[in-house]
Structure formats: structure tokens, C-alpha cells
């Protein structure tokens, strides 16, 4: 019996390992190879290491790395200034409409960053929407380093908000309550107990925000280009997509970017695992949340302001651009027009095909990462195989991989003549890129819920003669479904708007929503670009909501 289980479980293990090596290992391997062998793309191993020294001595490299770090740190600081107060209030007080604020603060994940950046430009520049409505412009602000930081912070701060509110919610009340029983006043309890205990969680949120901001492409490409501010990601993109090409240079910069992100995640890991003195293993006991009292109005005003800036302004600017006939006509009733939407639905420039491509690719990505993620999580949590920690590492590694590096790696890997199948210049490239980048979501969510599931059911299934595959599909998957579904929805949402990898690996004859929108801006049709963004944001939101409602009815509760 045991031997049988062993044999039948061996297969999934091999499948999982092979898929991970293909998805995650291969692109990284080729980036490394390119760093070492400059002539790799021409099928030669000549002049090994020469570009490495040349590129490491390039003064631009120091400037780009410095700019990336400066941007990352600034975005983290500003995001923290916005998110920490909000998160603390959300976790520890009786905030009116708490769930609603949580939902609203998820929306920035759905707005593609480059759309948000353009929306801010059209709002704040001289004679922009803001000046047309309120009479003043923010031209100097939006076209400056501070402008880039603010726009990015409004996109990224929810990461810190959710990290802070959840950690504090778990840590906060109990110990502080004990302290208060022992005579400390609420402020002392907060400063001396709650805050120190939540520091690791907070730090993890900050480092994640750092990693996200150094790998962001859309905002630096949109706003940075206007003021000559370049970071590693835009530097890689330029080396890789402008003539004359500099693949070795792009690979070296990619490596630096990965190292920076890895460093952030290593710090995060170190901080979290240091927290041995805190007991967080049990379920958090409910605690009495603080009444806001007279503070409720300023607090609500702050939440409203932040949501307005992070969600309201970008969406309103997108709506305004998409529904005005001409930009020079401005915000006038007689300038209202649906012609940009009409152009979309008349399939101008292949708009509908782009929408269908993005939705199908996002669906397939969600399915692939969902299945693979569940399998990997199961093997990591339940099996006794040696090397399962490697599996775990490989599956979470994409968290530290910037999208642009994955794209570079995939191009280098598949644009070779020795493969028996042709993957390069097919939509499979997009699927590989999205799956690699988004795999960590299902793995994370599933392994968390697997740890809560008892093993008796599986044992019962095996005793009754079911093999691994059968018990996995019939017992575990249905039980994991709710949390797996949430992760897959997240994958769907992000994959349907991914920009930088799409720009680089989309095959000839195909467009995704993001490359279509980017193209419309490049071709001087901002109205059509914004109309498409709006349709895409609405479509994904509706699909996600519909699917969630539908699945609530069909699936058992977690």
C-alpha cells in the first residue's frame, strides 16, 4: 500500500519539478548565460565574461541602480506615510464601513500603473482636467521626481495597508489588552507592546512595496521619460528593444535588478523568521476594538481623501478622456462623445481581438498556475520528498523576478534554433511569462489553507483504495477550491493587464489589452486607449465579481 502511494505520488512530483524548471529556472538560466556569453544569441560562446567587466564599469549602471534604489526607497516612505495610519486605524478601531474601505483599497491593483500615470498627467498638467475644473495646475509637480513617487505610492500603498492591518489585527489587541489590565494606558500599550510586535509584519510589507516599485515599468516609462529620469527597468527595456541592441548590457542590468529584489526578500524573510518570541500560532482571539469617538470624522475624511486620490482621480481622468470628443475641446457638455467607444466596438485596430486575447490568456494562466500551484503546495506541505524545499524555493522565486527579466530570459531561452518545437513568436511565450510571474499567488494561498486541513480525509481515501491523483482531485481540490479560486482570480486580474512582458514577447499578429492601449497612446489616440482601459477594467471587475458570486453558491465555505 505504501509503496503504491509512493509510486503514484512520484509522477506528480516529477511533473511539478519539471514545470517549475521550465517556467522559472529556464529563463533565469538564460539571463545568467547571456551575462557570461555575449555572443549567445548568435549561437557562440566566444568572449566569455568580457561584457560583464565592460558593463560593470559603465557609469550609467551606477546611475540607473542609484535611481532605482532612490525611487524604491522614496515610494516606500511615502506609501508608509499613507498606509500605516490607515492600517493601524483599520485594525485597532471600530472603523465605520471597514469592509467597504478594504474593497476600495483593492481597486488600485486593478488599475494598470501606466494608465494611472497618464491619468495623473492629463489631470495635473497645465490646462489639464484639474485646471479646467478648479483653476490651478500641478504641471511642475507631475513632471518631477516627486510626481513619479506620488503616482507610484498611490498605486502601491495598499500592499502595506493590508500587511499592517492584518498583522496588527492578529497581534494587536490581545497583548495590549493584557498590558492595559496591568495598568498601562492605551497609548503606552500601543507604543510599547503592539507596535514592536507588529514591526516584522510591517517591515515585510515595506520590503514587498520596495520590490514592487523597483520592478515597475509603466510609471517610470511614462513620467520618467518626460524628465529624463531612467531606472534599471527602463534601461533594460531600452537596451533590449531599441536599435542598436545591447543584449549583454540588458542581461547585466537584469541581474542587478534581480539581486536588489532578492536582497529585499532576504531581509523580509530574515525579519519574519526572527519573530520567534511572538506566539502567533493560534487563531487570534477577538478583542475589544477602540471606539473612535470624536476622531471618527477626521479619520473618515482621511480614508475618503486617500481613496479619492488612489481610485477616484485615475478612474475619473480615464472616464473623462474616453468620453470627450477632442482633448482640445476640454470638459464641456457639447464635447461629450461616445466615438472612442464606437471605434473600439467597430474593432478599430483589432481592439476586440486584443480584448479576447487578454481574457483567454488570463484565463489559461489562472488555470495553469492554479493547478500547478495546488500541486506544488500539496507536495511541499504534505510529502516527505527530499528536495521539496527546492520546489518551494523555485515556486516562490518569481516573487523576486521583475517581469522584464522574465521576458528577457524567455526571449533568450526560446529564440534558439535547437528546440524541437517553436515557442518563440507564439502566444505560448505570453502564457509562460504570465505563469512564471504569477505562480507564487496560488502556491501561497493554497499552502496556507492546506496547513489548516486535517489529513484524515486523504488517509480515508487512500485506505479505501484511491490513488494520489484520485484523492487529490476528489478530496483535496474541492476543499482547497475557495482559497485557490481567490488566488486564481488575482492571477486573472493581473495577467489581463500585464504590460512590460507583453510588450516584449507578444508575437507578430497578436495584441493584448495592454499592448493595444500602449500602442494607441503611441499613435496619438489617447481617447481610444482610455476607452479600452475602461472597458478592460470594467470587464475584469465584472467577470471577477460574477465568478465570485457564482462560486459562493456552488463551492463549500472554507
Amino acid at each position: 500500500m505504501r509503496a503504491l502511494t509512493f509510486i503514484s505520488a512520484r509522477m506528480p512530483m516529477l511533473v511539478a519539478t519539471a514545470s517549475l524548471l521550465l517556467l522559472v529556472g529556464l529563463p533565469l538560466l538564460f539571463v545568467l548565460l547571456q551575462v557570461i556569453f555575449p555572443e549567445l544569441t548568435r549561437g557562440s560562446l566566444a568572449q566569455a565574461f568580457s561584457p560583464l567587466w565592460k558593463n560593470l564599469a559603465d557609469p550609467e549602471l551606477i546611475e540607473l541602480t542609484g535611481n532605482s534604489i532612490k525611487l524604491g526607497v522614496s515610494v516606500v516612505v511615502v506609501s508608509a506615510l499613507i498606509a500605516v495610519p490607515l492600517g493601524v486605524v483599520r485594525a485597532l478601531t471600530k472603523l465605520p464601513g471597514a469592509a467597504l474601505w478594504d474593497v476600495l483599497l483593492l481597486v488600485p491593483f486593478m488599475i494598470p500603473p501606466y494608465i494611472a500615470a497618464l491619468a495623473w498627467v492629463m489631470t495635473l498638467q497645465t490646462n489639464g482636467f484639474n485646471e479646467q475644473l478648479l483653476g490651478f495646475s500641478g504641471d511642475d509637480l507631475v513632471f518631477s521626481f516627486s510626481g513619479i513617487v506620488l503616482v507610484m505610492a498611490f498605486n502601491i500603498f495598499p500592499v502595506i495597508y493590508f500587511a499592517v492591518s492584518r498583522t496588527l489585527g492578529a497581534v494587536g489587541g490581545r497583548f495590549a489588552a493584557v498590558a492595559q489590565v496591568c495598568g498601562a494606558n492605551p497609548w503606552t500599550a500601543f507604543w510599547k507592546i503592539t507596535l514592536p510586535l507588529s514591526l516584522p509584519g510591517l517591515a515585510a510589507g515595506l520590503l514587498l512595496a520596495f520590490a514592487l516599485s523597483i520592478e515597475e515599468f509603466g510609471t517610470p516609462a511614462t513620467l520618467g521619460a518626460a524628465i529624463g529620469f531612467e531606472v534599471l527597468v527602463t534601461g533594460i527595456h531600452r537596451r533590449f528593444s531599441d536599435w542598436p541592441l545591447d543584449m549583454p548590457g540588458a542581461a547585466v542590468l537584469s541581474l542587478i535588478l534581480v539581486l536588489l529584489a532578492l536582497l529585499a526578500f532576504w531581509l523580509q524573510h530574515w525579519l519574519i523568521n526572527r519573530r520567534s518570541y511572538v506566539s502567533l500560532t493560534g487563531k487570534p482571539t477577538p478583542f475589544e476594538k477602540v471606539e473612535l469617538g470624536v476622531w471618527r470624522w477626521p479619520v473618515l475624511a482621511f480614508f475618503t481623501l486617500v481613496c479619492f486620490l488612489a481610485v477616484g482621480v485615475p478612474l475619473l481622468a480615464v472616464l473623462a478622456t474616453a468620453t470627450t470628443d477632442t482633448l482640445s475641446g476640454g470638459l464641456q457638455w457639447n464635447n461629450f462623445s461616445t466615438r472612442h467607444f464606437a471605434a473600439l466596438f467597430a474593432n478599430q485596430d483589432g481592439a476586440l481581438a486584443a480584448l479576447i486575447t487578454s481574457i483567454s490568456l488570463a484565463t489559461v494562466t489562472a488555470l495553469v498556475t492554479g493547478i500547478l500551484g495546488a500541486l506544488v503546495a500539496y507536495l511541499v506541505v504534505r510529502s516527505n520528498f527530499k528536495g521539496k524545499s527546492w520546489l518551494d524555493f523555485l515556486s516562490l522565486l518569481p516573487n523576486t523576478l521583475p517581469a522584464i527579466v522574465v521576458a528577457v530570459g524567455l526571449i533568450l531561452a526560446w529564440n534558439q534554433t535547437f528546440w524541437p518545437v517553436n515557442v518563440y513568436n507564439t502566444s505560448l511565450m505570453l502564457l509562460l511569462a504570465y505563469s512564471c510571474l504569477l505562480l507564487p499567488y496560488p502556491v501561497r494561498y493554497t499552502s496556507a489553507s492546506l496547513r489548516q486541513l486535517g489529513e484524515n480525509l486523504e488517509a480515508a481515501a487512500r485506505v479505501s483504495g484511491a490513488g494520489f491523483t484520485r484523492s487529490f482531485i476528489h478530496i483535496l481540490l474541492p476543499l482547497l477550491a475557495p482559497s485557490l479560486l481567490v488566488a486564481m482570480l488575482m492571477v486573472f486580474a493581473i495577467a489581463s493587464r500585464e504590460l512590460v512582458a507583453s510588450l516584449m514577447v507578444t508575437p507578430a499578429g497578436m495584441q493584448t489589452v495592454s499592448t493595444f492601449v500602449f500602442g494607441q497612446f503611441e499613435q496619438g489616440s489617447p481617447g481610444v486607449g482610455m476607452a479600452m482601459s475602461l472597458v478592460a477594467i470594467l470587464t475584469t471587475t465584472l467577470l471577477l465579481t460574477g465568478l465570485t458570486v457564482f462560486s459562493r453558491k456552488k463551492l463549500p465555505d472554507a
Binding site: 544569441t41 548568435r42 549561437g43 498627467v121 492629463m122 498638467q125 497645465t126 490646462n127 489639464g128 495646475s137 504641471d139 513632471f143 511614462t222 521619460a225 518626460a226 529624463g228 533590449f240 528593444s241 531599441d242 536599435w243 542598436p244 541592441l245 543584449m247 470628443d325 477632442t326 482633448l327 482640445s328 475641446g329 476640454g330 466615438r339 478599430q348 485596430d349 483589432g350 483567454s360 490568456l361 484565463t363 489559461v364 488555470l367 495553469v368 529564440n415 534558439q416 534554433t417 517553436n422 518563440y424 513568436n425 507564439t426 502566444s427 505560448l428 502564457l431 508575437p507 507578430a508 499578429g509 497578436m510 495584441q511 500602442g519 497612446f521 503611441e522 499613435q523 496619438g524 489617447p526
Partner: protein, 316 residues
Amino acid sequence: MKILSFIVFIVLGSTATAQSLTVYSANPNDLIQTLASKFEKKSGTKVQVFQGTTGQIMARLEAERSNPVADVVISASWDSATALKKAGDLLAYSPAGAEHVPDFLKDSHYIAQGVTALALVWNNKSKTPKPADWGDLTHADYRRQVLMPDPAQSGAAFEWLGGMLTAQGETATWNFLSQLRSNGMLVSGPNARALNPVLQGAKAAAIGAVDYIAYNQQASGEAIDIIFPASGTVIAPRPIMILNYSKQPEQAKAFVDYLLSDAGQTAVANAFLIPAREDIPARRPGLADIALIKIDSHALEARRGEILNQFRKVTR
């Protein structure tokens, strides 16, 4: 199984390229989509388009050297065609209709499909006087009202700069630029989105803007004028070429023939480009209506680094 067939469907959808033609295009997107679908209907050959800037197209060709994909290239810069011919990558071909194309717009290996010019684009709702020449923009009326793309990032802006250097000479050009700069001119990113601030009225005028985009926007009601100064500007012929590693040269030739046919050239004219064939009327000022500066792009390209450095110094 369903998932598998879905994946297979998606993958096959894009690998079934054996009988299809792959075109890398720097054309306006709606133009190339129209041309591709009309050609498909006429010939039955499927056309796969990669749409990008000339820089992106050249980069992609280089990256794919060991494993080529493209059959036909439509570029926005004459230089790229010269470079590809020199590298031995092009197939010699003279399409039907070439006899109507003036000599300076064709070569044994490539031929212009259309021509664009670099214009001065002005928002006529701005409270500035209508400029007539580049030099007008140094006046106080245009303080902080002028924008130009960065020649380091925009091929068109570099050509415009080359035109100024050729027509006005070094000293005059650099003086002119430093005057513009002290008048608050913004040097901003690639050409692509340069017109956006002019449309919304953030700036009154853009220098060296690609004209067909502006004509398109004007046609859709934007309040802008497109001005070709009498002191001259630079034109950019947009060459088409067939790669000599194309696995379906016959279909590629048929496609190039189609681009130079009456129907193809009319589509070009409808996209507000100047058609390469003299016998097809343009919907905007043609070559005879624009004062042209002939530039030696090879000489300029050889001095690229030096010119960009000087530009940066002057406009910093």
C-alpha cells in the same frame, strides 16, 4: 482535457504561420490593419503584423537573426533600409507601380510606400499668435509654451535637428536651441506622446512633430494647425523591403505590389501620409508644397554621439 485543448487552440492559433506572411510595421496602426485585411481578402494569404517603432523593429530583427520570423518590413526611416541592404538582408525587388515613384524615393532593394514630414504643430485655441517659422517660438509669447521630443529618444527629432544643422549651420542652430531653452522649452521623451500636451493645451506648440498623426487628430476635430515653415523642414520617406531570408518571397512580393497599387496607395493617402506614387493625390500638402531640407543622414548618423552631447549641453 478541456484546458489542454484550450492551450493547444491558443498556441496553434499563432503558430499556423506556414502559409502566412509576417510583416513588421512602423506604419500607423489602422493603416497597416486595413492594408493587411484587404490584402488577405484579395490574395488569401494571411498577414501577421508586428506593430512597433522603427527602433523596436530593427531590434527585433537583430534579436531574431538566428531564428528569423519576418518577411516584409515597413520602416519609418530610410536609414534602416540602407543599413539592412548593406548587411545583405534584403531581396532586390521593384514592384509594379514603381514607375510612378520619383527616383529619390526608390532603390533596387527598397521603395517608399509613403512620405511624412516633420511639422510645427500649434494649438489654435492657445492664446499665442500663430507661428510661421521655427524662429518665432523664441519670442516671449511662447514662454514655457513650446515642447520638443528628445532627439536621443526620437528618431524624428534627431532628423529635425539634422535638418536645422544642415540648413542653418552649426552656430545658428545651437544659438537657436539655447534661445528656445531659455524661453522655457520642454524637451520631453520620445515623439510618441509629444502631441498630447499640445492637444490638451498644456503647451501651445510642438517642434518636429510627425505630421500624419497631427492631421489625423485635426480631422477628428482637435483644434490644431499643422505648419511647414518656409525656412524648411525634413521629410521622412517610409521604405518597404523584403527580407532575403523570407520563406515565401512570392507572397511577400505580392504584398509589396499591393502596397504600391492604386488601392494600397489610396489607403496610404487616407491615413494622411503623402503617397509615394505621384499619380495618387494626397489629402494634405504634398512634396511640392513643403520646403524640403535634404540631409545627409549618413554623415549625421556618424556624428550622432557628438550632436546629442551638444544638444544636451545646450538644452540642459
